[in-house]
């Protein structure tokens, strides 16, 4: 397989196809109403940044999209598959949706290369040799091919997070979820991870990012969503969102995070 054929996880599809559709979705933790009547449609190739104060339910929302969290009412349809308690559907969605976590969650007992080939080999049944080629391709793409045979514990935080991104890409996902990917990183490592994400966005990946990196939001987002108390309070294109926020809650939040 040549590098050219590997270049993009998916060619940028025509806009107009729905990637994720959430309608009237609610979720409770016991008595606590953590997500309230969420309605959100994400088109193919769209880049969405979700922000909001801590405890606003933004992480929970994207974790519902690959069913790391269950929702109790409403519908979530991902890439044409509805998420219910049907295990087959869940596995199907999970193999199409990549996720990058705040704390990387690399497998410490496997090398970087093995981290990247594990799921393709066991879930996609890709032959080992081919899986390793794909993994090396994506490791080159996140600019750490030379670390392939090290263990995650030997890498810096920024390098680990880039491996985590490569690990997700190896499954050739149609949608990528980012759950505060830079929040656990030292300041000097944030940029290398953001650069990788920007590159990915420019290639047309459908992305939902929970992040406080407003520079990233301005640069790549098609839409910014602001959440508070389990609800979507405001959403808009980044220019309008930052320059002309509508709700008082949004204004307060923006003044707090941009003010310092």
């Amino acid at each position: 397989m040549t590098d050219a054929a590997l270049a993009d996880p998916a060619p940028r599809p025509a806009l107009g196809e729905v990637a994720v559709q959430i309608t009237g979705m609610n979720k409770w933790y016991g008595q606590f109403h953590v997500l309230r009547d969420i309605n959100l449609t994400v088109m193919r190739g769209e880049r969405i940044v979700i922000c909001g104060p801590s405890g606003s339910g933004k992480s929970t929302l994207i974790r519902c999209i690959n069913r790391l969290e269950e929702h109790q009412s409403g519908r979530i349809v991902v890439d044409g598959t509805e998420l219910t308690s049907n295990l087959k559907n869940i596995d199907k969605v999970r193999s199409e949706v990549g996720m990058v976590f705040q704390h990387f969650n690399l497998f410490p007992h496997l090398t970087v290369l093995e981290n990247c080939t594990l799921a393709p080999i066991w879930v996609r049944k890709v032959p080992k040799r081919e899986a390793e080629e794909t993994a090396m391709h994506f490791l080159r793409k996140v600019r750490i091919p030379e670390q392939a045979n090290k263990y995650p514990g030997q890498l810096s935080g920024g390098q680990q997070q880039r491996v985590a991104i490569a690990r997700s890409l190896c499954m050739r996902p149609k949608i990528m979820l980012f759950d505060e990917p830079t929040s656990a990183l030292d300041p000097e490592m944030i940029k290398e991870v953001l650069d990788t994400m920007i590159e990915l966005a420019q290639e047309g990946m459908t992305m939902l990012c929970v992040t406080h990196e407003m520079g990233f939001a301005r640069q790549v987002a098609d839409r910014v969503i602001f959440m508070d108390q389990g609800q979507i309070v405001e959403q808009n294109e980044p220019e309008a969102f930052f320059n002309n926020p509508q709700s008082e809650r949004t204004k307060l939040f923006l003044s707090q995070i941009l003010g310092h």
Partner: protein
Amino acid sequence: MSDTHARTVAFSRDTMLPPVPPPVRETGAVRWLRENLLGGPLNVALTVLSLVAIWWALSGFLPWAWRGIWDASSLTECRARRDELYGPGVPAACWAIIAERWPQLVFGFYPQSGYWRPPVALAVFLVAVMPVLFPSLPRRMLWLLPPAPFVIYWLLWGGSLWGPATVAAGFALGWGVWLLARRGGAGAGLALAAGVAAAALWWWWIAGPLAGTLARGVPLALQPVLSKDMGGFTLSFVIGLSAIVLSLPLGVLLALARRSEMPIISTVAVVYIEIIRGVPLIVWLFTAQLLLNYFLPRGTNFDLMLRVIIMVTLFAAAYLAEVIRGGLAALPKGQFEAADALGLGYWQSMRLVVLPQALKISIPGIVNTFIGLFKDTTLVAFIGMFDPIGLTGSIRATTAWNGIYWEPYVFIAIVFFVVCYAMSRYSIWLERRLEREHRPAT
């Protein structure tokens, strides 16, 4: 440094300092002695006191052991030789009992012509588990593992080779059918059912007659040995090693079951673990000896040794389950989530992601349980089996050795210590090795 420099606040280093070795007084044996044995009056006093205690303990034991008599055929003869060599009443061990009863302590009542069989079986066992214990060995050696139990069974119990061979063929057939069904696109459940059915049919209809025919054509047989004739360390090793090998997978399954989100499965696991752990092993052994016969259908006569192996396995599995549950609980939730998010199924994520890490954390506890299990095999002496402890009783019952206690017990203790210490060293080696390879997650 000049006065002006010391008073300025601004500072900028122009040369970086190279690392230098620490002062000699602070390294090596001298420092260790000073810090640990002679650091202050209290430490000096404790050191002297310890030396006295060690001398007191060994001054009796070592001469006694050293003077030991090795060639005698009875305790009386031993005492006579001692009086002759050292004078009457001087303490001297009578190791002659070990020399004279060696075959019995090792093999029990195993037929003498078959004394080569248990050691060969042990060697087969060790070779077969080598690739599991030492990951640096070639993976192809794992193929030795599946046939090993059948070979070991045949070596120990004897009889026709074709009995165990046709049973093994049934497993191979079931596995083959399962594999074919999976390749042919059958679901996991259907493939499993087909495999089990094929193996069962094989065992039910074909295995017996086939084994008989083959035995008539090519008689490959060893002299049959009954379980009740096995004794001594052969018995301890057969029970101990079988239970160790069988209890680990059962313990893993129980630990996973206990953490299961399905309430029935986790309740069953909890009840099992609590009941088994809450009752002493000796009670379970008596149960195995006496009660199982009441519960089992009339006419089934289960070998006592098999019953004991099953009981010890079930007992150890409950402890292992708790040890492994600790390892599972110590894993960050993110590991489970990352495996889920990549689309790995439950068994895949357990096998590839969760268990390798959880078992690694649990190694000290697992080996601890194994060591305890191995020593607990001596309890079978109480249900009339002739393990080394049981044998000392029957040896003492002979007129030649009536009245000898210390020497056989010291010998048995040394053998158990050597085996348990080896397990302990292996676990330390394995931990270090895994520590080097798998750095902790940050």
